[in-house]
Amino acid sequence: MDVGYDMHVFCHNETILGEITTTLVRAGCCLLCILRHLGVRSPHFYCRPWKDIEAYVLSLLHSSVKDNENSESKANPFAIVKKPCTLCLGILQEHSTKEFFEKIKEQGDREGFQYSSFIASLTVPVCAILRQHSMLLFLKDTHKSVYEDKEDTDIPSIKDVWKWRNGPVLGQVLQASFDQKSQFDILLNFSYPESDRECGFLLDLKPDIFKKRKISKNFKKFGWETFTRANVNKVLSTIPDNVFRSKFQCPPPVPAKICTCNISICHDALYVAGRYNKYSRLLSQTPWVVDGGRKGETSVEELICAPIDQLFKPDEHRFSSSGREDVDVRMLGSGRPFIVELINPHKVKFSQQDLTNLQRKINDSTEDIKVRDLQMVNKEDTMVLKEGETEKIKSYLAVCWTENPVPVEKLEQLSQIQDLKIQQNTPIRVLHRRPLATRERVIHTMSATRIDDHHFQLRLSTQAGTYIKEFVHGDFGRTVPNMTTLLDMDCDILELDVESIELDWPKKLEDGEETIAPSEKKV
């Protein structure tokens, strides 16, 4: 066959190449594993049609046979292809065929995935490392001049060759492009039942390295997985060749069958962000579960996420927001920024118009919340929300009550106070689930408007993380100063609304629907 360009191989003597090929065929290597060990590292060459590759290998075999007519190596070319390969255990054979790719496509379709590009991640049985090492040692014995300076890493890996050969073909089957940056990942986990047994001798040689794993923290995570690529490679680099030869057959033993493959398909997480208003004093932010039973019919999270889940079809969602309000607190103004992280979404191709429609759907489903600026954001953007947690100013509107009539002058004095530092002990209402600590918070501004002798409206802008209810009623004197000490009379809070959260994120959208608070129906 005409190779057509100056191909990189370990040796340019056709006769020697032919002899090496004969050795590899006899040892039970498949076509692609032969190319790997000849040193072919051109992805294009691996992409050639099977018949071209087969013809090339056959031509090499014949060039060796010419010099040695009686050799039994007039190998049946089909024998090369059909036996389970002693190196890749079938990964570059049955698992590199259209039938296998069709199986991948079927699974993707069955699971309802939508994608336009993909990457593939392969997990190769650990024993393949040993087999590869064994084969190279064998080649060093039989073809010293070519292989004496070669190391395992000089041989293109099974993974790389699989991707070079199969990436484009799988792309055609999936009608998607093979792209290293794709968020859609096809995980191929190859397992070979004999792998642990074949690695077994390492345990006797270096018990320390493998013992450590068993008692390490990761043991739980990896479970039975005694041998990993990392620890096997590590041990292999310390074992002298003669010791390895005495423990592991060179060339490697012929496998009885090929490995099996578990296909799992997943899409990287996607992030949907927006801002929400909450107009109900009976709606909690997240599902409210007490002692295993739930309180409240629904929650802000559920109202927002149910339609999002319906569209994106993720395995699960994670709702987070810039702070949270209590069940009886309304969230007014421009709303509270939130993010929904969608884990393994099955549907992913959506335009901003789709998101705007989704927002309308959420808003039409309830009177209790309103969502705006719903949009897709990047993972990096989600950091803004976490940073905003402590840095941002929040404004509140509270209705307060005093036991004694409060003089107007006293209320007016409040607006003179600027950047009031308060010491806040962890409020009793969250003390069961938060550490006990005293935190300094700043009330930036205050202004009060008299409603009647006993009632006034208090507008506050505060540092994020300030507990407002406790600032008003004092929490058994555990927040100081508080409204009771400032007014010098018992003061309590009747209602609270969050008016704004000064976090300019996510970006405002041009055609965002104007949201108007409906008149309060529930108190």
């Binding site: 009793i428 058994f476 209602e495």
Partner: protein, 175 residues
């Protein structure tokens, strides 16, 4: 400023913070039944020890001279808790003393924990301002905060007196 609330929302009296978030349980001193203690139980299991309405300090309107959190060889001010789990908390039983209150007339009272649990904090405001005990016995004049263990919570609640049981017990106590 626009005030949007409808007028009928506003009354002259509302349930207090204590009424809204706590239920009251009572503990009587083992030997001196007049020494009653009210334990405010939050819906989140946090318990706050306060003087009971019929405790002589309140019923006889005594003047407090000092509150001391060292009783015997235990100093409650040494109590340090860390983390959500309140690690390092002093462990209390019902009869564990929390503090000793000394009145102007020289009479002294020991305040017991009244229940099993972990000591979360004592009210250090009482050190400088012992009058809070009589001025605001159920809010700023609280004595300590206790977190009972989840497993023991129900049985501790069973053991403490309800409001009705307390009132009838108090009526029967000879004055």
């Amino acid at each position: 400023m626009e005030v949007t609330k409808s007028q009928e929302l506003y009354q002259n009296k509302y349930p207090s913070v204590v009424d809204r978030y706590f239920r009251k349980k009572y503990y009587l001193h083992e030997n001196r039944q007049k020494e009653a203690f009210c334990i405010l139980v939050h819906s989140n299991r946090i318990c706050i020890v306060t003087l009971g309405e019929t405790h002589p300090i309140l019923s006889q309107n005594k003047t407090i001279q000092s509150v001391c959190f060292t009783v015997g060889d235990v100093n409650r001010l040494d109590n340090k808790v860390s983390g959500k789990a309140k690690r390092g908390a002093q462990t209390l039983t019902a009869s564990s003393p929390l503090c000793e209150i000394t009145c102007d007339d020289g009479e002294k009272f020991i305040v017991p924990a009244g229940m099993k649990g972990q000591l979360v904090e004592v009210n250090t405001q009482l050190l400088n301002n012992p009058r809070l005990l009589t001025l605001k016995p159920q809010t700023n004049g609280y004595i300590a905060i206790i977190l009972p263990k989840l497993k023991e919570f129900e049985s501790e609640m069973e053991r403490l007196l309800t409001c009705e049981q307390y009132l009838s017990a108090v009526e029967m106590t000879p004055t």
